[in-house]
Amino acid sequence: MSYAYLFKYIIIGDTGVGKSCLLLQFTDKRFQPVHDLTIGVEFGARMITIDGKQIKLQIWDTAGQESFRSITRSYYRGAAGALLVYDITRRDTFNHLTTWLEDARQHSNSNMVIMLIGNKSDLEARRDVKKEEGEAFAREHGLIFMETSAKTAANVEEAFINTAKEIYQKIQDGVFDINNEANGIKIGPQHSPSPSLPSSSGGGAQGSGCC
């Protein structure tokens, strides 16, 4: 499936905040109620459309556990976007944001777009961090902000797509050097002649669905 751009994302944040669930909801439209601890890093992908252009998102979901930190750090450089996730029902995950941000800023390229996500917004009754606090933190550090629920899928699409929009805008503004792949951006294959297909299988629908 051809695309105009390819963006690399990483998802970071404390363990158990719902990073893997966000990815699963985005790629497979499913929710996983049990905590399946991520070991190291897992990969996922999906196609989206922005401004009438097909954009492929390649997403690396990292382990939040402290012991994997040295592994996950290897993924910062080379990513164009990062979703920094905390859990609105656990203040400690919010308190750790500064550390995460420092780590990200230190190891990533300076143009990386960071989206701050307060996840589990469906658990309003157990809320421990006010939405305003998230907004304030984002404002203070120049991040985009959104509250999501990987369970109800509320704002999940938007979180991934708005990050892509921001990157796309940066490309339009000439901020990103798209020829340097270390920035986590790749231009799609220029309409090359399609390879010969056996029998009848045509190009197929190029919808937004994942593969």
Partner: protein, 944 residues
Amino acid sequence: MDYFRKYLSTPQGTAGQPTGVETVERLVDRVQSSTLLDDRRDAVRALKAMSKKFRLEVGTQAMDVLVQTLETDRSDSEITGYALDALCNVLSNEPLDDDDESNMPANLPGDLGAQFTEIFTKKHENVSLLLSLLEEYDFHVRWPTVKLLTILLTNKGKDLQEAILVSPMGVSKLMDLLSDSREIIRNDALLLLTQLTKGNTNLQKIVAFENAFERLLDIVRDEGNSDGGIVVEDCLLLLTTLLKNNSSNQNFFRESSYIQRLTPYFDLDSQHTHSQAGWSAQKVTNLHLMLQLVRCLVSPNTPQQQVTACQRTMFQCGLLKQLCTILMASGVPADVLTETINTVAEVIRGNLQNQEYFASVMAPSNPPRPAIVVLLMSMVNEKQPFPLRCAVLYCFQSFLYKNEVGQSQIVTTLLPTSSDANQITAGQLLCGGLFSADSLSNWFAAVAMLHAIQDNGTQKEQLLRVQLATSIGSPPVSLLQQCCNILAQGGRFQTRVGLLQLLCAWMIDSPITVAHFLANTANVPYLITQVSASDSDENESIVQGLCAFLLGITVLYNDEQNETFNKSSLRQIIEKRIGLETFTEKLSQVPKNESYTKAAKKPHVSYKQSSEVTFDYEFTRIFKALEVDALDAVSTDAGRKENKAKLANLQQHELVVNQYKDIIQEQDQRLNDLQQQFLELQSKHSMSGEEIRQLKDQVQQLKDQNSLLKVQKGAQSNPAADARKDEEIRSLQDQLEKMRLDNANKDSAIEKLKTDVTVLEARVVNSSEEDKENIVPSESEILQNTISRLQSDLQELRTSAAEKDNEISRLSVQNNEAEGQIQSLKQRLESNAETQADPAQLAKLMEEKMTLQERVKKSNEENLKLLDKFNKMEEEKNSVVSEKEGVLEELDTLKKEQEDLLVLLADQDTKIANYKKLLKENNIPVEDDDDDEDDDLDDDLDDD
């Protein structure tokens, strides 16, 4: 290091030759102490030269100094290269290619490389150092660095993988090597990356994240795909390492549309029209690896979801089509063809669209035949290579797996209605195979047929309709009965197990087949005879076990229509003629067999040799599912309970073992969890420690601030403030006092230097006079001694001059500080004066300040004078040096007159040993501790 000591205590070399230990020691010393880069470079070069022959010595004594060289002399690529080469030699376990292996110490431990590697990697910063050296572009640095890292990975893979994982950007630096324009570096980098990622999922993922797939695929393409050289092979090996058993990477590979890029690999037509020289050994290897690359994306042990998605893509991008073209092409080497068949098998397995495509492929024969038919012809042809026949069976099974349409297509070709005498069909080939004289063909055909009816009741019934004309005149026999007849004739082992497995699969879930079977009254007695026979060998016990299983199935799926052989009568016969105990035991023999366990592992038909062929994968699944039911079925109601107990007993063992396995696994898991927790706690602990420390600091700061505030508050009109000022002044005075003392010391030191210089001068004069007179060899020794003394004196002079330098700068710093303090004091006094208005005190302070300033000024002057003196000293020193040079020149002339000595002194690189020996030849007695001085002398001579 004690470990090595016993190897080091080799006896002294003959004729006073220095041992390796001594030479290495001296060289190490020189690298450490020499201030001249050229000198150090020579020494490191010498260490490199020795590092093969005296591997142990260099490794134990010089490793640190070599590493240190990498740090300090990094800007000089030559010395860095030597140090790296030396480390390579020391750490590598590769046998030397030198021919002077007879010189090698024979008693070295075999895993020396591993031991040294352990020592080297214990310091993680050593690995980081190597990684940072990769940034140097110079070939002499980058190449040996790559080699060294590869050696380390080969010796201690796990340790190094961990070290590289934690070093920031480590993998990035390694990946950057792939863009190096120098082929040799790029190629070695490929090997390095393969070693790096072997068995480490995390590193595999990081390397993939760093765009490894794209770069490797680019290289393969640019090198001409399968026509490329060993680089292509290495790229493919790395690709396979990154993808095998790593579903995250497989997903990434597919999502990035890289499968599409594999298609051209199998486009053999366009790749070489020069078909003659087409199949070099390299090309065969490359294609094998390309096929394996495809297989690791779709092999049955990868997650089903992943396999299905990859299979779909492989169809869409034409990869399957290309593979099928190779299948039908001529001139393809048999092993490539075999692997292609295996690959096609896995690309189509369980995927209806791909299976249908495969069924539609026609061979370009005359007349055109379906590819399936052509392949089956090879399977039942005993002249074909065994692995090829296995591959065909695997492919055929994969074609039929979860494919009812395909099953019906195959069975239909066996039925009388569709028989077309001129056309060879799959059915004909299978029947032919089933009853051929080749027992392996029997087995292949029987198992192939099993897959044509597996899980498909309709086809089982259809197969009952197949009638065979055996001999002219006699009535046709059903396929089922013919199988039984051959079985009863007691053919070869593989024939019988093949047929028995087919019969079992056929009758399962199919009472009508069982009824057909029981209709022939000879069949049950045959089975009874088999099961009740005493087992003679392993093979027979398998046959007996399978017969028992078949008996059980006839009871289990009995439709009770046959009066002689209904359920209860069969049970009675079994109990009477065989006995439940024997029956159970025979049945339980089957899964205990090694060939059963092996076949049960994976669908791939992977026998090493034809004699191993026994069980089919699908059959083992059937057996596992129905073993208990079959046993239950033959037990009489009374015996059922007892039987269950027995079975339980039999299975208990396995169960217990499994339980223990589970427990162990659980414990393993728990252990891991606990370790995880422990790590977390540890980090939390250290974090809390850090926090506590910070808090303590804060408390201290607050306390300080508090007391400062208190003081300030009190200072408004408080004698305490004055006291503090007094104190400050006193300390300043103390400092001044100390400076003065320092100055005095310096003076005396300078004085001493001066006298030293004078003495030196005198000596120089003396020695030059002596030199002129002495032309006899024995007296040249005296000359040498004098000169070396002179030199050491000079050295002393240099160091004390340097010390002076230091002292002077320290003094001036102190001076500055003092000035600063005075300045701030002044300011404070002024500000205090406003609020405090204590003129007397102020005046006194001012006065003191003045005196202090005065003193400082004086000390400054003194310093200047000192500097002056120092400069003079420098001059004197220089003149001494030049005088020395004069002396040395004279010595040179002297040397020219004395040939032996000339050779001795002129060659700086000649070993000191030689030097000593030569001197001895000249009857000059030499003491060992003079060596270093001799060395220095040589250096200086060459410097001139």
